[in-house]
């Protein structure tokens, strides 16, 4: 009897999990379906689900009308570039805070995170003026630097959490075994931190890929990434849902596929190293 109850409970939980999963996934599914509809079908009321004339004309139209390859390339460069630059700066910072903490380490960490709470629009004008002064508006390098700065607190925090998980005794053992600081980092610390560094990179690529405030405001054409690409379909042509959906799908597909392949690392990244 007890067994039957626990079986039923298990089924209920499974159903609930699937339900929530589908609920979260629904907007993407709907966008996906809409992108294959004719414009008239897309706004049909009541909505049409699966049985319509599937067409790829939206994709063709989107590709004809705008430069998808350029936007894709910009997105990749900005997301990967800002993440790697952030990692290069954050690794030594997190290292120092995790292994040789000072009196103010905790304060510094909190201060960094508090910067993340600042409304971005508050620094928009100063940043635009600075960018203008250096003549870097609508350039990839500007976006790489800005997004790196935006995500740096998160990168440092994540790495700090991972480094903290590495037992100090193992580093001490390396020191006793005759390793100098360089060898300690190359042979012991880095190999042990690889999973953490990898999930930090993955998560931050996603964050940078999806970042829409700065990327839309600071680019026009040359450095415009996929976020801008989507926005350009929504603003003046708000009623063309099918094309907008096609553009959205094309923008999120690369990151969705990447996320699918790196699920395990991502879960680790999202739990901030809380689960071993």
């Amino acid at each position: 009897m007890a067994r039957a109850i626990s079986h039923r409970k298990k089924m209920m939980w499974t159903a609930l999990a699937w339900g929530i999963g589908l609920l979260i996934f629904f907007p993407i599914l709907w966008t996906f379906l809409t992108s294959f509809k004719a414009e008239a079908t897309a706004i049909a009321d009541p909505p049409v689900w699966f049985f319509f004339d599937w067409t790829t004309e939206n994709y063709t139209a989107v590709l004809e009308r705008s430069n998808y390859p350029l936007a894709l390339m910009n997105s990749i460069i900005i997301a990967v570039g800002s993440t790697l630059l952030g990692i290069i700066i954050a690794v030594p910072a997190a290292w120092a805070m995790a292994f040789v903490p000072g009196k103010r380490t905790k304060d510094v960490l909190l201060w960094m995170l508090s910067n993340k709470m600042l409304p971005a629009v508050g620094v928009l004008y100063p940043l635009v003026l600075i960018a203008k002064y250096f003549d870097v508006l609508d350039s990839r390098i500007l976006l790489v630097v800005i997004l790196m700065l935006i995500n740096l607190p998160i990168i440092v925090w994540m790495l700090y959490t991972y480094f903290r998980e590495i037992p100090g005794e193992i580093l001490e053992a390396a020191r006793m075994d005759g390793a100098n600081l360089k060898n300690e980092i190359i042979y012991v610390l880095t190999p042990m931190a690889v999973p953490g560094i990898a999930s930090t990179i993955l998560l931050n690529i996603i964050l940078a890929w999806n970042e829409a405030f700065w990327t839309i405001l600071l680019t026009t054409v040359n450095a415009a990434p996929l976020t801008k690409f989507i926005a350009s379909f929504s603003a003046p042509e708000g009623l063309f849902y099918a094309k907008l959906s096609a553009a959205s799908i094309m923008a999120i597909a690369p990151i969705l596929i990447m996320g699918w392949f790196s699920q395990k690392q991502l879960v680790r990244g999202l739990t901030f190293g809380a689960v071993k």
Binding site: P167, E169, I170, E172, A173, A174, R175, M176, D177, G178, A179, N180, N183, Y187, V188, P191, M192
Partner: protein, 337 residues
């Protein structure tokens, strides 16, 4: 060679003085055990010798050469940690090879030493496994293997057995003793377990709050504890420490009688009490005796055949030549009563 000299070595963490200035000499080839309750500074002292902590004052010399400012890597010492601290991403072979690799030893010599160490420590079949795939005892052996291959001036052990189960601990204790006999290298061993200290040490250093309470061979400490702290700490079960009128009879403020130095007599005797808990081990029986004029029960070791039970009346007679006398500061009087 591994003679380690500590000269007025002092350690402060901020304002807290963990180790007040302290002198100690560890002779070459000696097996020295630092023992004391947790928080007594024994691990800190070991880490100072290792170089993992910087001294606040004083000097450390290894083989007469100043080592105070040398980084751990340059001191020529090997350490075995409580958590074993193996490199989880390396195979057993690579773990053992790591210190030799750091020293830039040639490949053939590395192989030779790995084979030899693996042979001595029964690790030959496990060389290609990762530490995660080994049992606690095996991990401990790998940690020891990693320490011996570089032929250090001295070995430092930081509570190496406390993560093992009781049966394994006894076995490893003997293996480490055996290793010391074979290698004849200085070993400094930290433990809170006085049984480990007694069974393994040539010389025991008893520490309390960073102070050295007594230094001596296990038997010296057992026979002539310098104060009540050492008296209570060394020996198992603990020595009975009696104060008040009982002690005054012996012209002392505290007297100590070990459980094995109390005889159960049929009648009379100095102490008469009631048996509380009786632990029958077969070879021995330990009685916890409640004596009316004393606050704490007295522990008595009797032969296995003594059949007293809970609640029985018991008569006890201490052996006069084994009564330890201490003055009002807890220090031992120079001679017996």
């Amino acid at each position: 060679m591994g003679r380690i000299t500590l000269d007025k070595v002092q350690k402060k963490f901020g304002e807290v003085e963990v180790i007040p200035p302290l002198d100690l000499t560890i002779e070459d080839g000696e097996f020295v055990v630092f023992v004391g309750p947790s928080g007594c500074g024994k691990s800190t002292l070991l880490r100072l010798i290792a170089g993992l902590e910087d001294v606040t004052g004083g000097e450390i010399r290894i083989d007469g050469k100043p080592a105070t400012d040398l980084p751990p890597a340059k001191r020529g010492l090997a350490m075995v940690f409580q958590s074993y601290a193996l490199y989880p991403h390396m195979s057993v072979r690579k773990n053992i090879a790591f210190p030799m690799k750091m020293a830039g030893m040639d490949q053939a010599e590395q192989e030779r030493r790995i084979t030899k160490a693996a042979d001595a420590l029964n690790l030959t079949d496990y060389l290609d496994r990762r530490p995660g795939q080994l049992s606690g005892g095996q991990r401990q052996r790998v940690a020891i293997g990693r320490a011996i291959v570089r032929e250090p001036a001295a070995f430092l052990f930081d509570e190496p057995l406390s993560n093992l189960d009781a049966a394994l601990r006894v076995g490893m204790r003997m293996e480490i003793s055996e290793l010391h006999k074979t290698l004849a290298t200085t070993m400094v061993y930290v433990t809170h377990d006085q049984v480990e200290a007694m069974t393994m040490a040539d010389k025991i250093v008893v520490l309390r709050a960073g102070h050295i309470e007594q230094v001596g061979s296990p038997l010296e400490l057992y026979k002539a504890p310098r104060n009540t702290f050492v008296a209570g700490f060394i020996g198992s079960p603990k020595m009975n420490l009696l104060t008040g009128a009982t002690a005054a009879k012996h012209n002392a403020s505290t007297i100590g009688i070990r459980p094995e130095h109390l005889d159960v007599v049929s009648e009379g005797g100095t102490f008469t009490g009631r048996v509380g808990v009786a632990e029958h081990l077969g070879s021995d029986t330990f009685f916890h005796v409640h004596i009316p004029e004393m606050t704490e029960p007295m522990t008595v070791r009797a032969g296995g055949e003594v059949g007293l039970r809970h609640g029985d009346t018991i008569h006890l007679e201490p052996r006069a030549e084994h009564i330890h006398r201490f003055d009002d500061k807890g220090l031992r009087f120079a001679c017996h009563a």
